[in-house]
Symmetry: C2
Amino acid sequence: MKNSAGNALPHVLIIGCGFAGLFAVKALAKAPVRITVVDRTNHHLFQPLLYQIATAGLSTPGVAAPIRNILADQNNVTVLYGEVQRIDSARRMVTLDGEQALDYDYLVVATGASSSYFGNERWAAYAPSLKTLQDAYDIRRRVLLAFERAEREEDAAQRATWLSFVVIGAGATGVELAGAFAEIARHTLQGEFRRFDPANARVVLIEGGDRVLPGFPAALSERARQQLERLGVAVWLGRRVSDIDADGVQMGSDRIAARTVIWAAGVAASPLGAALGVPLDRAGRVLVEEDLSVSGYPEIMVVGDLAAMPWHQPAVPGTAPAAKQMGTQVAKNISRKLKGQATQKFRYRDYGMLATIGRNAAVAVFGKLQVSGYPAWLLWLLAHIVFLIGFRNRIVVMIDWAWSYWTFERHARIVADPATDDARHRPQP
Amino acid sequence: MKNSAGNALPHVLIIGCGFAGLFAVKALAKAPVRITVVDRTNHHLFQPLLYQIATAGLSTPGVAAPIRNILADQNNVTVLYGEVQRIDSARRMVTLDGEQALDYDYLVVATGASSSYFGNERWAAYAPSLKTLQDAYDIRRRVLLAFERAEREEDAAQRATWLSFVVIGAGATGVELAGAFAEIARHTLQGEFRRFDPANARVVLIEGGDRVLPGFPAALSERARQQLERLGVAVWLGRRVSDIDADGVQMGSDRIAARTVIWAAGVAASPLGAALGVPLDRAGRVLVEEDLSVSGYPEIMVVGDLAAMPWHQPAVPGTAPAAKQMGTQVAKNISRKLKGQATQKFRYRDYGMLATIGRNAAVAVFGKLQVSGYPAWLLWLLAHIVFLIGFRNRIVVMIDWAWSYWTFERHARIVADPATDDARHRPQP
């Protein structure tokens, strides 16, 4: 692609098409650049609703859309499905799987974060975490099959361990998952089992700190805890996990016997930050300048959960709105550079925070306004439908939610794997 | 569970909850029996629409529903998720995975069929077939990623092999898949790629016999072939496949270079037929008596695609309506036996046949009435919505289809696997 003077347009390479990457691409729609977007999946994921895949409330097309479909009408973009292997910032060259090389004039790294087990990586096999669609399918399979195994289990004590669900970490994801598990047990599965009452399933939410939703004001954390307990979740605060194995969770001398454990306690930066060869913070995130570029490489920008901004007070949260704002800012900065203008500093604008707990249960904060319960839940509903990518997704999600609200059903309770495929969930002989 | 006289009720064990198994269970709702249903998945699959999962037109909850949800209100049923390992017909005992044993008074085997490669099992790796949800996900992934790989391929000849799709076998499944692939290439993906026009993708349907849809009257086969070609499918009749490898399909001295090949050419009976230790036909199906019981074991009945009925003329097709009728018949026969009455012979009632080819394109036959094109397609639509299991599925499928009809979009185009997970589809370095 060339400009009217016949010169090749500058090439902007964007790695990762989450909220930060996607909003950078979109904000460059009219810029005189060629854009290449590389993502290792074929979809943009609406991460705030991913827990609904894990809890069978929505099916995949409700929360994910093909990247090239979203960007089909933006003619200055080429979308490539691939995984970046190396970044050579000196030669301005990125290498994909299959050794395919791409050069760039501007590089935007937006590869986000994955889960961290704080050095206990072997816990991952027993306590999966939730970051990708595959993670969500895995959690859904474990939870649904635990009830199936309980129905086949003839020993009452063993059955109780199949019917115990532990969520570790009471941030937004942990709270959402624990609340949804309690609703599945108490409502969705009612009347479907012959050997036990699913309402007797035990859901425990374990948190190392002294309150749930630590990012929220303390009063809302307390409201959230009350709403969780009302749904039937046991909330254990100030408890540190010392070990996780196939049969349960150890906290010092205390133990919960449980076959299903979910890890929602920590995030680690994408390894691509380290591939840049620039200074990182302790969590592996890239320390960026105030214009989100990388020290010494003004043509490289890092956005979203991979960016660390110790100079920004208060801290920028690891949320979709923050990622979007960063993506839009770097697009603006690239356009400014092309015009020979100085880049702008990034300032996060806080429009408020929402967390859902379950049916009619949520908390929300907008500046000084704090809301909980049904009004907060309505706000959450509205906000998530408004911000969903794609008109079709919105309709589908609205219909699914309306259906679930009236019937208590969760339609996406399908496990493709045959019974004997999953060794971990096989009944003990 | 006991009857009013205090005796334990007879135990009916049903293996497999496809159409035959499910309709047997439902028809026993008021019978004085305890029923156990064992299935190796947690869902009943609406098999006639499975190709829509493989072609991204519907997402999973549109065609699959949890078995225990369908049967929640039928109190005489226990649903177990498990896989049968052995049947001991002398001791009337069935062993599940995990060595769990179940006895029975009546046994209904309804485990259907899987795909057959006629002794060339190594072709399965290169040419997957379509029987289960996992098969459908696999085919969808291969087809969508072939277009992704084509966008990354810099060599034109290599790109052409990524853009060649071959379907082997022109029965209903092969015709549906080939038609849908052509529509995806010509409509769904339009404008989404920068290095090629997806409308130039090549879809070839190979059939060993001299016409497509051999189960239909010859005139409708010809109509179907015309409709396929109009959609852009090349139909090759009378061609026998001699080999399949990672790069294409060999037919004697002819060869098609193609990275994506789907096998829709043969079915084999479930191995559980052989586990009964009774006479089988050449395809491995159980030769049943006229009341669908097994010779020498009047308490064992075989229904659905696993049953062979050489005594029935004309032959009973391997379709959902035939399976339903068999399931209902054995339920009736069990009830009759409990009352001391003689069992009834099974007679298949032919209400007609439908096959869809694509948008506004189908063929249908009802007795002497033959229909093709738009009216047949409307009939197909109506029939499949009417017979879908579950009210919710019907609504969702109607909305999805209406959306796709107007927009040409296919919403379920999500591939969860990251780019570097699938060695087979990695570009050649």
